[in-house]
């Protein structure tokens, strides 16, 4: 006995407008094409992560079965399904970075922040995430914070990067 949800009760007007912008790019009966964009928009507005309820809302908004949204959200690593820190530090540990000493970088980050991959610092400022090749092998080892790449890392450089963040 699940009645259709009123779409205007989902999200605030600004988010709806952003999602609608993406829906408009696809044919009318292919609204689910906007799923990835919608998840990103909703995640950004929610401090960087997606709760089950938010994914359900995206499903209702796009007329998709909820499981189809979970599939997308669990497939791509840029979606977070648990709360993350204000700064999400994504460290590449794939081949090129590994050959160029990413282990040292990881060790340093873990030591400085006192957390392991997948964890959040107690003050909620940082979380650490292991990622696969981000296509910046030329600058290996590298990491990403927000939408910025930091390359040719050394422990000192890592310190100055972190110090420079709010």
């Amino acid at each position: 006995m699940k009645a259709a949800t009123d779409k205007n009760s989902l999200f605030d007007a600004k988010i709806r407008a952003e999602i609608d912008h993406w829906i408009a790019k696809y044919p009318p009966d292919w609204k689910q094409g906007a799923c990835m964009a919608a998840l990103r928009i909703v995640q950004d507005a929610n401090g960087g992560w997606l709760s089950n309820e938010l994914m359900d809302d995206v499903a209702s908004y796009l007329d998709m079965p909820p499981i189809a949204v979970y599939e997308v959200a669990t497939f791509y690593s840029m979606y977070e399904l648990k709360p993350v820190g204000k700064h999400k530090v994504c460290v590449c540990t794939n081949v090129s970075c590994m050959l160029n000493g990413c282990d040292r970088i990881v060790e340093h980050l873990e030591g400085r922040l006192g957390i392991k991959f997948g964890e959040v610092t107690e003050d909620g400022r940082f979380s650490l995430k292991e990622v696969e090749c981000l296509g910046a092998c030329g600058g290996a080892p590298m990491l990403q914070i927000g939408n910025k790449y930091y390359e040719n890392l050394t422990p000192d450089l890592v310190d100055s990067i972190l110090d420079g963040l709010e």
């Binding site: 006995m1 699940k2 009645a3 089950n52 079965p65 909820p66 499981i67 189809a68 979970y70 599939e71 669990t74 497939f75």
Partner: protein
Amino acid sequence: MSDKKVTIEVDGRKLEATAGQMLIEVTDAAGIEVPRFCYHKKLSIAANCRMCLVEVEKAPKPLPACATPVMDGMVVKTRSPLAIQAQQGTMEFLLINHPLDCPICDQGGECELQDVAIGYGDDASRYVEVKRVVKDEDIGPLIETEMTRCIHCTRCVRFGAEIAGIRELGATGRGEHMRIGTYVGTTVTSEMSGNVIDLCPVGALTAKPSRYQARAWELTQTNAIAPHDSVGSNVHLHLRRGQVMRAVPADNEAINETWISDRDRFAYQGLSAGDRATQPLVKENGGWRPIEWSDALALAVEKLRDARAEANALAAPHATLEELFLLRKLMAGLDAPSLDYRLRQADFRATSAVPGYGLSIADIERLDAALLVGSNLRKDLPIINHRLRKAALNGGDVMVLNPVDYEFNYPLGGALITSPSNMVASLAGIARAVGVSADGAIGELIDGAAENDETNRLAARLTAADKAWVAVGALAEAHPDYAVLQAIASAIAEASGAVFGFLPMASNSVGAALVGCVPSDGGLDAVQQLSQPGKTSILLDIEPAQDCLNPAQAMRTLDETAFVIAISSFASDSLKACADLILPMAAFAETSGTFINGEGVWQRFDGCVRPLGEARPGWKILRVLGTMLELDGFDYESPAQVHDEVRAMIGDRGIDNSLDDPGDVEPWRPKGMQRIGDVPIYRIDALTRRATALQQTGEPVSALACINAALAKRLRIADRGQVKVGQGGKSVVMAVRVSERVPNDTVWCPAAVDGSELLGPQIGDITLEKA
């Protein structure tokens, strides 16, 4: 797909095929074995397991047979060194993460993975690393999960999307972390969900009710016809030591294809319910005492002799053709005209002689339009709904006129949702829009009806359709103006060029009509029999508290009836309350017989397990009663003789949906609120009501009043609170749900559930007040 014929060669054999067919379809048809996991003939092609790799000449590498279209002159080798190497490689990879826990796996012995591993795999694994483990979810009472065994063929996922029409299972995560599940651990709700158990090629999804009960090689397989709806799905019963351990579908393209509903799969559980009738029982001073069969029969005969022509009889429409025939013959022998099987019919002013679908089950999927009048089809007849769903997905318009906005698993082409009393006017509106010209009272009703956008739209679609069907369902049958609804629906069908039909509920509704289990001259119909206490009544396989239109009245009347003989597989407390003698009858699987399904197809089946205790097949009980009553023609020696006689009597008569004029059409006018008392999917018959797993699925099992927010506000009733529901002077306190699926001033209050036995007619006046 074009019909162009091509010739290909497989393993040296020349095969004819149609261009565009997939290689695996051609090899399957030719009986050439190609191993597979993800391919299934009824599902879309995923080509993700790679088990079906074969060598195709001129192709640079092995190709998946399930996703390779045939081309003229193609030369295929399924057992060449290249093919074998590819198959072995795939098998080795598939087993890397498989737990190989066959000794504790229910699928062991009937597992596609085991079979293919033996046939195409190597005998030892080179993999020594760690295996992945997947945590299980609880997806409900019907399906057990052991997802570490899953090989990600996605058959279950495609089944949900393509057949069940609700996608509940999915593949979350990626690579090593991919897993099949609901992600959030919800219960799978499809009424056809159990089919994923058969589809799953490994032991990841198995039947929960029969889990750990038997090993595949201990079971013997027999054929049966599912007794829970008018489809008559073909099933295999799996038996061990004289007990039904489970039911699975048997292929029949013309009926159930390869599927069965969950009801047909799991209702067998009711066979081992604690209240099975296992010995004859007689009521004495308000208590019950077991007696010998001979004494029980003598008592029944004495009471029937007393009553003679005044005897009444009611039969369940899921009784076998042979039982129904013998009951009719017995009543005829007594010159007793009061006999009926239409236990949920409210209005007998006019009705078709032999109501049935009116078209073949296979034709339903080829319809361009259908109008359902009073039917929760998805829950009532899941297989018919599945066929109609195919029509809808093919562009057909499935439209409904219903008193509740039932959920369908496909988009409806139109829906008129209105209170029961308004259904007549709405249907008349459609008739007017279609341009029906009728005389008499029905004509007047139609001429006076209001058209609106929705009635016009429905009418337009119906008229425009090439192949259309107007079908009257179970909720119309329980409607006080059933005769009027039928007459208008049939007129709509005629005017719009549609086929007119019914959606009979029970496995042998059609059979009961064909043998004439209806009152003859001056006899009482079901409603009359159950409103005036008589001398002696026979109840054949009926639980009056659940199986009748107006249970409160039925119970009262039977209680006041001088002597009630219940021939029944169950001796429930409610039956004991109204019966005087219980003759234990063999249940489903314990007796042979025949069902005639809604299409008119005769299907015979054998008994395959011994009746429980002293229970006897219904036909034998009726035969002995006939002989002891010294009636002519009861000296049968086998059920086959009975069958032959029914065959001869029915001849080539079949479904007959033509109608008489109902005459008087003064419509029912409710005094206030109206009840919609549909029968929930797992309350349909005694066996299903006792299937414990089905009772836990979340479908309604106990009394419930569902009203819309406007009514709740007016009565100051809160969602999930309690409410006092009254009908016919009695009242019951039950839970409330607020739902916008229910129209104004109506109360959706299911029948045949616990607590509803104190209520009145399924559709009728009802009162509601704060508890």
